[in-house]
């Protein structure tokens, strides 16, 4: 059996060897991280965005690269998931997007701060994270059993995607995850419930039509409202 001095050598020697291994890997990591993270894309705007992220302890609720707290969504791919227009609107007034739901502090960011924060998150979204976050492996199987194809004569207008309408509403069995708790209805059969004029009135200013609605007034031009109304009312044809 080991003597005490042999045990001591095991402890000190082992610690020395593994510390040296760790330091060598650290040096190598320093060499490889700039390419893997596209460090050249860290503009002053991205750096400012990171400071906003830290100055408000965003990690105290959210996760980024899977690190942080578990009270609010993972944000690594948020720019890809929601799109910039949605994020701009959300950061102006977080509670308006999810009324009567889990709350986020309104930090009263100005436009520049919002752009910086989004630039930082966009940079994060492009870092090679060795496959994280994984695409949900069961999502495709579930969609295959529930999805109905969208029947439409008109193409989906760009503003429909830019506003991430399918974040809250489902269309053709896809999307709508964020709207489940808010009671956001599917859009496939909206033409049966509202005529075109009603859709225009609703999309222009939902709280005007129904004051207790959870859908916020979106920053849409009249042309964009018309495009959306055209598209939605075409679904029945």
């Amino acid at each position: 059996m080991l003597s005490k001095s042999q045990a001591k050598i095991f402890f000190l020697g082992g610690t020395g060897v593994f510390s040296a291994a760790f330091l060598s890997l650290t040096i190598d990591t320093h060499r490889k991280v700039p390419a893997q993270t596209h460090a050249a894309n860290i503009t002053p705007q991205v750096a400012h965005g990171k400071r906003i992220w830290e100055d408000n302890n965003c990690m105290g609720c959210h996760t980024l690269f899977g690190e942080g707290a578990y009270y609010a969504p993972e944000l690594t791919k948020v720019v890809e998931r929601r799109g910039k227009p949605w994020l701009r609107m959300f950061l102006k007034n977080p509670e308006a997007m999810f009324p009567n739901d889990r709350k986020m502090v309104n930090y009263h960011f100005n436009d520049e701060q919002i752009e910086n924060a989004i630039a930082f998150l966009e940079w994060c979204g492009n870092v090679d994270l060795n496959g994280f976050p994984a695409k949900p492996p069961l999502a495709a199987k579930m969609a295959a059993s529930t999805t109905a194809p969208v029947v439409t004569t008109k193409p989906i207008p760009p503003i429909f995607d830019a506003m991430a309408c399918t974040g809250c509403h489902s269309l053709g069995g896809k999307g709508g995850a964020a709207g489940v708790a808010l009671g956001a209805p599917p859009l496939d059969d909206v033409y049966k419930r509202k005529n075109r004029a009603e859709i225009v009135a609703w999309v222009s200013d939902p709280p005007k039509v129904k004051p207790d609605t959870k859908m916020p007034k979106l920053p849409l031009s009249p042309e964009q409202v018309n495009e959306i109304a055209d598209f939605l009312s075409s679904l029945g044809n």
């Binding site: 080991l2 003597s3 005490k4 045990a7 001591k8 402890f11 082992g14 610690t15 593994f18 510390s19 291994a21 760790f22 890997l25 650290t26 990591t29 490889k32 991280v33 893997q36 993270t37 991205v46 750096a47 990171k50 992220w53 830290e54 100055d55 408000n56 302890n57 965003c58 990690m59 105290g60 609720c61 996760t63 690269f65 899977g66 690190e67 942080g68 707290a69 578990y70 009270y71 969504p73 993972e74 739901d101 889990r102 709350k103 502090v105 994060c124 870092v127 090679d128 994270l129 060795n130 496959g131 994280f132 976050p133 994984a134 492996p137 069961l138 999502a139 995850a177 964020a178 708790a181």
Partner: protein, 454 residues
């Protein structure tokens, strides 16, 4: 106790108890927020509650470690503490920094990096404070009549904990490198040098409580802390799977994380074997119960619940979910909270001269808190696994999933209430001991099996 200067440990322990109580309050605020009862959001938003909850934990554990060192080192080195006055100054300064940090969090002032939230100027004060502490303990050891392995391991643990605080202060514009060095502090503390501190304290307690020969206990201490570093240093890799660092960390982290439970398993077997060998002759049975409980719960919480989600293929889905909270709660409780409570349970009768070790309160405190923590871990596990299935595997929206798991947080709050009852009982027993007294000096001879064995 043997030396009058050991009395300073009492004030470190008492401060730790106060911060612990406050930590529980903020834990409840978060638990309620998760069930939808977020009435305090306007004044204490979740990120504030979270930072206060984790920082208070770190603060009270560090106070507990310092108190333990101030109690153990004079006795191990066989001389009075170098400067009692410096110890008091250092305690007050530490508390002042801690309170300032907590106030800052309520005013949205911080550095905003998980676990290292304290504003930068306070970082420097922490460093100075810890240096004062290390100086005090170091000078005591230098002046002492004997060097023991126990005091050496404890001092090494404390010294490296101070040293490893520094990488956390390097700033990067690259989030990946920022995170990389943040883990040098967080991981290498809790899965490295803090285990040295825990091992040192546990070793001291086993020598005192079981009466087994010091040479034997200390030999095994070397092997166990050796295993800790062997697995823990490269085990840091499990934090580098998915943050933008090279892919080889998946292999390095995966292999060495899988070895990490061995150190904890070794610790548990070691504690149980020594207790069996020594025949538990010491009358302070509750201190031995806490020591063995610590070894076992850390093995379960830190060892096995840790490996349950450090396998890279599993971690791909559990990374950044409540599964981490499940592991974190029992790991910190088992490994670090319990060792601090164990040294308190051992030291309080010696500091105050009141032998309240066979009080039923003390036994109830142990069982209630441990059952409560196990229930909390269970609630986190169910919530975490449900979150992983619905959000990460099926692709449901984050908030929709959170509503689905609200009920598990009611379970969590029930477990937390039971846990709190246990901690309140422990604190009540702590208060019943009264203040440290000079009459207790020399009282430790009583109760130890034979002087020769210590």
């Amino acid at each position: 106790m043997k030396y009058a200067s050991q009395k300073v440990a009492y004030w470190f322990f008492a401060s730790a108890m106060v911060l612990f109580a406050l930590q529980l309050v903020y834990g409840f605020i978060m638990g309620f927020a998760h069930t939808g009862w977020d009435g305090l959001h306007q004044w204490i938003p979740f990120n504030t509650a979270r930072a206060v909850h984790t920082n208070l934990l770190v603060c009270w554990l560090l106070l507990g470690f310092m108190g333990a060192a101030y109690f153990i080192i004079p006795e191990e080195a066989d001389c009075e503490l170098w400067s009692v006055k410096l110890a008091y100054i250092q305690l007050i300064a530490f508390l002042a920094v801690g309170v300032t940090a907590i106030v800052c969090y309520h005013l949205n002032i911080w550095e905003g990096r998980k676990f290292l939230e304290i504003p930068r100027p306070l970082d420097y004060l922490v460093v100075i404070d810890v240096l004062a502490f290390l100086l005090n303990i170091g000078m005591t050891l230098m002046r002492g009549k004997r060097y023991t392995t126990t005091s050496l391991v404890l001092y090494m643990g404390l010294f490296f904990a101070a040293l490893l605080y520094l990488p956390g202060m390097i700033t990067f514009d690259n989030q990946t490198m920022d995170s990389f060095y943040r883990w040098w502090v967080v991981h290498l503390w809790v899965e490295g040098v803090w285990e040295l501190i825990m091992g040192g304290i546990l070793c001291y307690l086993l020598i005192k409580l079981t009466g087994v020969d010091r040479e034997l206990v200390e030999k095994w201490l070397y092997i166990i802390v050796g295993l800790t570093f062997l697995s823990g240093i490269l085990g840091t890799g499990h934090h580098y799977y998915y943050i933008g660092t090279p892919r080889y960390w998946l292999i390095v982290g995966g292999i060495f994380s899988a070895l990490e439970p061995l150190a904890f398993l070794g610790m548990a077997i070691y504690a149980l074997a020594m207790a069996k060998k020594g025949g538990r002759k010491h009358p302070n049975k509750i201190a031995l119960t806490w020591s063995l409980g610590c070894a076992i719960m850390s093995c379960v919480g830190a060892g096995f619940l840790g490996i349950a989600h450090t396998i890279p293929q599993v971690n791909m889905f559990t990374h950044g979910t409540l599964v981490t909270a499940m592991h974190g709660h029992m790991a910190f409780w088992g490994a670090y909270a319990m060792i601090v409570l164990a040294i308190m349970a051992y030291a309080m009768p010696l500091l105050t001269g009141r032998k309240l070790w066979d009080s039923p309160l003390a036994t109830w405190a142990f069982w209630t808190s441990n059952i409560g923590m196990s229930a909390m871990t269970g609630a986190f596990a169910v919530a975490g696994i449900t979150q992983v299935t619905l959000e990460r595997r099926m692709g449901m929206d984050f908030l929709a999933v959170q509503h689905e798991i609200e009920m598990h947080f009611i379970g969590l709050l029930l477990g937390a209430s039971l846990f709190t009852v246990g901690i309140v009982l422990f604190m009540w027993n702590f208060i019943r001991h009264g203040l440290p007294s000079d009459e207790a000096i020399g009282a430790d001879i009583e109760g130890t099996p034979t002087p020769a064995q210590t």
